[in-house]
């Protein structure tokens, strides 16, 4: 407690961050569960799909459990990029986030158009869905754990994290100069999200490239506001004095979403009975 012990003081700040970060994470997850329990997905009452309704379905999808998958992945990525791009200034540091959103929106248009032409949905089989889900869950878990100690944990106080995990997490966070964000954006087309799947099924019936592409594009644009908010919040907050709290909150939320995804993945292959109901 004394001022002559800067290390002790520092350590105290670190844990103080958690005192705020934990309630924030709990409140966020609570709000998320409440949105699902209120039946946000039932807001869609239309049976016909126009570009306008596809857009609204996109907005609702971005607030539904799909947020736990796509949003969680995006939050873990952008928070990791933000926390590791200290030296970068200006628009350059947003590059990976722009690449992610560009990859997502362009691929939704092109793949949607292709579905319209080819007449069959591009969906992974159950084993593909399971493998992709487990990989994403584990990546999110690693990035989430990494976010918890990024700012205030020094090596001394850091609980011994297995070497291979920290090395992998570091590897993932260094990828912001490559095309990874773009590819992850494209990959979101195949992520398990009920809304994306049913939009794909609808797109089948359009039978032409432009209509199919524009439907999926409208849907992707509908998901953009919430996803953009998730990704850019990391960058706007990172320079403020509250950044430690933010990254810890983000880390906790990402870890919770990662566990949610991993458990649900065990459910769909029938390893465990369903756990959640929202």
């Amino acid at each position: 407690m004394s001022t002559s012990c800067p290390l002790c003081e520092k350590k105290e700040t670190k844990w103080a961050d958690f005192k705020i970060a934990v309630p924030i994470a709990i409140a966020f997850v609570g709000l998320f569960i409440m949105l699902q329990k209120l039946g946000i997905v039932n807001l869609v009452n239309t049976s016909s799909v126009t570009y306008g309704t596809a857009f609204v379905i996109g907005i609702i999808a971005s607030l539904s459990t799909c947020l736990a998958v796509v949003g969680g992945l995006l939050l873990s990525m952008s928070a990791t990029f933000a926390s590791t791009s200290q030296g970068l200034r200006g628009a350059g540091r947003f590059k990976p986030i722009f690449l992610f959103h560009a990859g997502r929106i362009v691929s939704f248009f092109i793949l949607g158009g292709l579905i319209g032409v080819v007449g069959s949905a591009f969906q992974l089989g159950i084993s593909g869905t399971f493998v992709l889900g487990i990989i994403i869950g584990i990546v999110m878990l690693i990035l989430g754990i990494n976010l918890l100690d990024v700012f205030h944990f020094t090596k001394k106080f850091q609980p011994a994290m297995p070497k291979f995990i920290s090395r992998h997490a570091l590897g993932i966070s260094k990828l912001n100069h490559s095309l990874t964000p773009l590819l992850v954006g494209v990959a979101t087309f195949f992520l398990p999200c009920g809304f994306t799947q049913s939009m794909q099924i609808y797109t089948l019936s359009t039978g032409n490239f432009l209509q199919g592409g524009l439907t999926m594009l409208s849907f992707a644009l509908g998901t953009l506001p919430v996803l953009a908010l998730v990704s850019f919040s990391s960058f706007s907050i990172k320079d403020s004095s509250k950044s430690g709290v933010f990254f810890k909150s983000a880390g906790l939320i990402v870890i919770i979403f990662a566990l949610f995804n991993l458990i649900n993945n065990l459910v769909i292959i029938g390893l465990i009975p369903p756990v959640f109901n929202f």
Binding site: V44, N45, L266, N277
Partner: protein, 137 residues
Amino acid sequence: MKNTITAILIALVLIGGAFIFSKSSSGPDTGPIVNNNNGVSGSNVKIENGVQIIELKAKGGYFPRTSVAKAGIPTILRFNTSGTFDCSSAVRIPSMNLSRNLPISGATDIELGNPSAGTFRGSCGMGMYPFEVEFQN
């Protein structure tokens, strides 16, 4: 702090906008489904021409969540959708290794054969909307 407030405001506007938009585009008779039927229900099970039909409403989950039906007779699981875009439009039944996409609106039958007594479980494609059928002798 300013950013946080802006973020919350944007989120509220989006949610509110979604509410308003869907309210105006919906008919008067298609209100949201009330999420309160957790209990056991038998009214969704009927027998037609010797085939037992278990009807489930698929939208924002499966309703009723738990059904009670007879074991050992030919059985069909029928999913009714109406404007269903959420996860419940993708049915997943691990024990049958079955994944099925439901149409946005309509009825989809899944044949269960002659199920033996016990609990039959399924969920949506992402695993978070469960349903189960208690097959009793």
